[in-house]
Each structure stands twice: as structure tokens, then as C-alpha cells.
């Protein structure tokens, strides 16, 4: 059994975003990128623990992005993944989550993929769509909001725990399967120096996107960015003046009720 973990480099959380000249998206110029925050690290960690438990033999990492996305893949290799694949986009290439899933599936289906793991959502566009769309493109089942994976039950199956508003469910699912983790393994490992050095020699293939596109039966459907807005800076809180705590409470409740109309 082999696992594929999909990761995405995203701008760091404290990035100062600027609207691109087109007005339709943000300007990637000058932004610092990270391995997709904690969500992807948790997914990589989950796969590594399953490998260490003897449940899977290999952990492959795949990412779609510009050449600099190699850094994130290398980081996953330093955590312990076996090899990496970067579907390299060119300048100006932009793919929405649906198209991304379509392209990732095009690459994933050429190799073993008993378990495909994705994090909860990307830290930038936050759609949380790629996992289930991957399942559709690969023609295999997919499960999201998963809080735990264990290897129990008949071979060729996995046991999943998932969150629902009606309570957690425990499911037995057959392989191959795509799993979107609501939360993966806690405390993902930090690569050690020897592992960082070892990761430099691990196989990492750059595949031009044109090769993947050529294999797809139809070009991916794409949404068009129309506008990108940064919220107007908030002017700061209106502070409630008061003599005693009861007065503060009364005044605040009145404002929330009569002015903000949220009570």
C-alpha cells in the first residue's frame, strides 16, 4: 500500500497582501511562501506515522505550483517522505481548486495511490475542495472532515473517524480512497539536520504541466477571477464610557441591540 500526500505552498499568514494591477487577484510579488501551514504538515505526518506502523510502504508527495514550490516538497522529504513530484506551473498560470484537482489527479493516476491524503484546506483560498474533487477525477471514494485513520478490519480497507454535526462517525472504507483531514497527526515532526541533508538526495521530479495537460481527456474547467478586495481598514472600536461595570454592560447591550442589531 502506498500513500500520496498533496501539499500546496501558500503565502505566510502575516503577509501584507496587495491587489494585483489587474484588480482580479492579489500580487504574489514579494510574498513569502511556506509549506501549507499546519494542515499539510499534519497530512504528511499522518502518512509517515502510518508508514512507521507498517500500514503503508511508501509516502509520495505531490504539489502543483511554480518552481519555488520545490522548497515545500523538499521540506516534506526532510520530514521523511520517500519522493516528490512537482507539477510545475509557468509564469501567469493560475488554476482554481477544481482545475488543480483535475491536474493533480492526472499525475496521481499514473502511479500507485491506495491512500491519497490532503490537509483540511489551503491557507490562502481556503476552499477545502481539492480532496473530494480529486476523488471524482480519480474515480475513487473520498471522505472529508476526517479526524483519525487507523488500520483495522479486513485488508484492503481502512477505518476512518470523521466529524459530522450529528456526532463523530466511525466508517470502514475500502481502498483506494481520498481522505481530507480535518486534523491530522498532532505535533508534526521538525526535520533534523541529517534528514534535511538526506532529503537533498531524495528523488524530486519536476514535471512540466503541459505533459499532464496532454494526458487529460478534456481541458480542466476554470473559474475566472473577477475582483480581489482587501477590507477597508477598520476605524477602531467605539469605546463604551462608564462609571461602574453595570453601566458598561447596559450601554454595550443597548448598542448591540439598537445600533449593530445583532442581539
Amino acid at each position: 500500500m502506498e500513500a500520496v500526500v498533496c501539499i500546496k505552498p501558500v503565502p505566510e499568514a502575516d503577509s501584507r497582501l496587495r491587489v494585483a494591477p489587474s484588480g482580479a487577484t492579489y500580487d504574489p510579488e514579494g510574498l513569502r511562501y511556506t509549506l501549507n501551514s499546519t494542515y499539510d504538515e499534519a497530512a504528511v505526518e499522518e502518512a509517515l506515522r502510518l508508514r512507521e506502523a507498517g500500514a503503508i510502504e511508501k509516502v509520495h508527495v505531490v504539489s502543483l505550483g511554480p518552481a519555488r514550490a520545490e522548497e515545500g516538497v523538499r521540506y516534506a522529504l526532510a520530514m521523511g517522505a520517500d519522493d516528490g513530484l512537482l507539477l510545475e506551473t509557468g509564469p501567469g498560470d493560475a488554476f482554481d481548486p477544481g482545475a488543480t484537482a483535475n491536474l493533480l489527479a492526472g499525475a496521481i493516476q499514473t502511479g500507485p495511490h491506495d491512500l491519497v491524503l490532503v490537509g483540511r484546506r489551503a491557507g490562502d483560498d481556503e476552499t477545502g475542495m481539492v480532496g473530494s474533487a480529486l476523488g471524482e477525477h480519480l474515480g475513487i471514494p473520498s471522505f472529508a472532515f476526517v479526524t483519525g485513520i487507523s488500520v483495522e478490519g479486513p485488508s484492503g480497507s481502512l477505518r476512518l473517524r470523521r466529524f459530522t454535526e450529528a456526532g463523530e462517525e466511525v466508517l470502514s472504507v475500502s481502498l483506494p480512497v481520498v481522505v481530507s483531514l480535518l486534523k491530522g497527526a498532532q505535533d508534526p515532526r521538525t526535520p533534523t539536520l541529517p534528514n534535511i541533508l538526506k532529503a537533498r538526495r531524495k528523488p524530486l521530479v519536476h514535471q512540466p504541466l503541459s505533459e499532464v495537460l496532454a494526458r487529460l481527456p478534456a481541458p480542466p474547467v476554470r473559474s475566472l477571477p473577477v475582483r480581489f478586495d482587501l477590507p477597508a481598514p477598520r476605524t477602531g472600536a467605539r469605546l463604551v464610557e462608564y462609571q461602574n461595570p453595570s453601566e458598561a454592560a447596559e450601554k454595550l447591550v443597548r448598542l448591540l441591540r439598537e445600533e449593530a442589531k445583532v442581539l
Binding site: P11, A13, L17, Y26, S37, D96, A101, G123, D125, E126, T127, G128, M129, S132, A133, L134, G135, E136, G139, I140, P141, S142, F143, A144, F145, R159, F163, E165, A166, E169, V170, L171, S172, S174, A218, V221, S223, L224, P225, V226, F228, D229, L230, P231, G236, A237, L239, V240, Y242, P245, S246, A248, A249, E250, L252, V253, L256, R257, A260, V262
Partner: protein
């Protein structure tokens, strides 16, 4: 040709039902802005029983009922297949509006891929385009920004929880049973082994609560949380926490709001004793109304808040809870 909007119900929980009503409300307004159209609710499941009648009062023109053993457990693969079966019956152009519950948020990727249309999630605003696609505004970067995207038809979109109002007033619908073809979808190889009870809590889950009350270091210790819980109960609010108090072990990680925790956008967010580190702000700054209570008037939380009280949370919480209870009981201050 007038458009059709299809909403798929999530009847599995009260929160799912509320999200379904919000989706019906959003779809109704979407159609009304475009000169009208047909609003269809897809009710999928097994042994739906009394839910058939209940759902007929939610305000759709028509309820398509798919009561099938293969739909007993929600699986994106089978539900997307069943939804496609419905879409094929409907006159185009069709837009699919999914609730902002786990069902809708999971299904949107799979169904848009299956229908080979555009898809996106967490919609804050919707507008139908003449081409039959939808224009969607949605938050990104934890609410630090928003994007507007144009989805080609057939478009599938899931909503941000709490962003839309239910249809008003609800009208009775025509209920039409639909049979699914045999054999069914793909492998559908999942079996439900166990359903664990919802943890006993009198506060709603964070990400869908219309009001969220969060506590930070300014509460001075975990022993003071009952004061915050009282306010949350009075407001019917979900309970959140800053990273500092989760790291300190005062509160469970599940309550953390922010970059590494939950991202929330309630109607009302009350930050108590939270200074407002950037990693907290990215998880809550898209809330409609923000209230901050903090002893330090220069705390960054006051920059993003709409209303603030400078003062000690432990002193202010009891009278605030009292004042909220009075308002909720109908006694206007």
C-alpha cells in the same frame, strides 16, 4: 429560459437543517434578482420518515425525494452521483446551491467535478450571470481579503454558514419521489460502524455558531471560565479561546480560534481578555460585529473591534451576562 436552482438538504442535524434553510433563502434571492425561476430542494437519505413532510414546508417550489438505502450514510461519491441524477432531470441552466454544513462543504468539490462545471465554497454573496454561471464573492486568507470569481455553468457553490437568511415566508412545496437507477454509483464501499454521540455541550460548535464568545489570558486562569460560559449560554454562543490559553493548557485545542485553529465569521464575536495577536485576528476578523473587552486600551484587538470596553473581564462579565439575559427575556434596558 428561466433558471433552476437546486439546493441539496443536509437533514442530519439541527445545524445542517439551518444551513439548508440558509441555502434555500440564498437560492430564492438569487432567482428573484434574475426575474424568477424554479427553486428545487433535493432531499437525499434513507428512511426519511416525517422529514418528508417537514421539508415540504421549507419554501422550495418542489422537493425531489430520493429515499434509497444507498444514501443511508453520507458519502460524497454516492451523493454526487445521486445529485447528478437530479440535475439531469431539471431544465437548464441549473445552479446548485449547497448548505454551509459539512455535507455541502464536502460535496461541492466532488459535484462540480462530476458536472464539469465551476465550483467554489464559503460564498458570502451570489449573483446569477446571463450565461447561467454564478458570480460569487467569498473570503480568503482567513477573512483578511475577499475574492469575486465567475463560475462557468453548471455552477456548484457551497455557502458560508450564517451568511444568508432563510426563505421568508416559507411556502408549501410539491413533493416528487425520484427513483435512482440500478446499479448504483461506483464502489460505494463504506460501512458505518459506529456513530458517536455529540459531546454533551449546551453551546453550538464554533464554526457555525451565529455568536462566538472567546476568552484569553485576561481571564487570569481556567478557573474563571464559568463566567465566560455563563455569557456564552446567555447569548446562545459557541465558546472559543486564544492560542495563548490553549498553549497554556487552560482550554482544549478544539476551542482555538485563529490561524492554527478554527476560522469563524459569526454575526457577533465577543473577545474577552484577548489582546489580538495577528494569528488570532486572521481567524475572526470577518465577523460581522466584534466586541472587545480588555484592560489594555492599546491592545490590537480594539483596532478591529466595533465596540470595546476597557476594563477587567472578571468584573465586567457578570453584569454583561445579566444584561444579555434581561434583553433575551424581553426586558429592554
Amino acid at each position: 429560459m428561466s433558471p433552476t436552482a437546486l439546493v441539496l438538504a443536509d437533514p442530519r442535524s439541527p445545524l445542517g437543517i439551518r444551513a439548508t434553510l440558509e441555502a434555500l433563502g440564498a437560492a430564492e434571492v438569487l432567482l428573484a434578482h434574475h426575474g424568477g425561476g424554479k427553486l428545487v430542494l433535493g432531499l437525499l437519505g434513507h428512511s426519511l420518515g416525517a422529514l418528508r413532510e417537514t421539508a415540504a414546508g421549507w419554501g422550495a417550489d418542489e422537493v425531489l425525494l430520493l429515499d434509497d438505502a444507498r444514501l443511508a450514510v453520507f458519502q460524497a461519491e454516492t451523493y454526487a452521483w445521486a445529485a447528478e441524477t437530479i440535475v439531469k432531470r431539471l431544465s437548464s441552466p441549473t445552479v446548485v446551491v449547497l448548505p454551509g454544513s459539512t455535507l455541502g462543504r464536502e460535496l461541492v468539490g466532488r459535484l462540480s467535478a462530476r458536472l464539469r462545471g465551476g465550483g467554489t465554497s464559503e460564498a458570502l454573496e451570489l449573483d446569477l450571470e446571463d450565461t447561467g454561471g454564478i458570480r460569487v464573492r467569498r473570503p480568503l486568507f482567513g477573512g483578511k481579503a475577499s475574492e469575486t470569481v465567475s463560475l462557468p455553468a453548471p455552477a456548484v457553490v457551497s455557502l458560508r454558514a450564517n451568511a444568508f437568511a432563510p426563505p421568508e415566508p416559507p411556502r408549501p412545496s410539491r413533493v416528487v419521489p425520484v427513483l435512482l437507477p440500478d446499479p448504483g454509483a461506483g464502489s460505494a464501499g463504506a460501512h458505518l460502524l459506529e456513530r458517536l454521540p455529540v459531546p454533551v455541550s449546551d453551546t453550538p460548535p464554533l464554526t457555525q455558531a451565529p455568536v462566538v464568545v472567546s476568552g484569553g489570558r485576561g481571564l487570569h486562569g481556567p478557573e474563571n471560565w464559568p463566567l465566560l460560559e455563563d455569557l456564552a449560554r446567555a447569548l446562545g454562543a459557541g465558546l472559543g479561546a486564544s492560542r495563548a490559553v490553549v498553549d497554556a493548557g487552560w482550554r482544549p485545542a478544539s476551542e482555538q480560534v485563529g490561524q492554527t485553529g478554527s476560522s469563524v465569521s459569526p454575526q457577533l464575536y465577543v473577545a474577552v481578555g484577548i489582546s489580538g495577536a495577528i494569528q488570532h485576528l486572521v481567524g475572526m476578523s470577518s465577523s460581522r460585529c466584534i466586541v472587545a473587552i480588555n484592560t489594555d486600551p492599546s491592545a490590537p484587538i480594539f483596532k478591529v473591534a466595533d465596540y470595546g470596553i476597557v476594563g477587567d473581564a472578571l468584573v465586567l462579565l457578570p453584569p454583561l451576562t445579566e444584561a444579555v439575559r434581561r434583553v433575551r427575556a424581553g426586558v429592554v434596558p
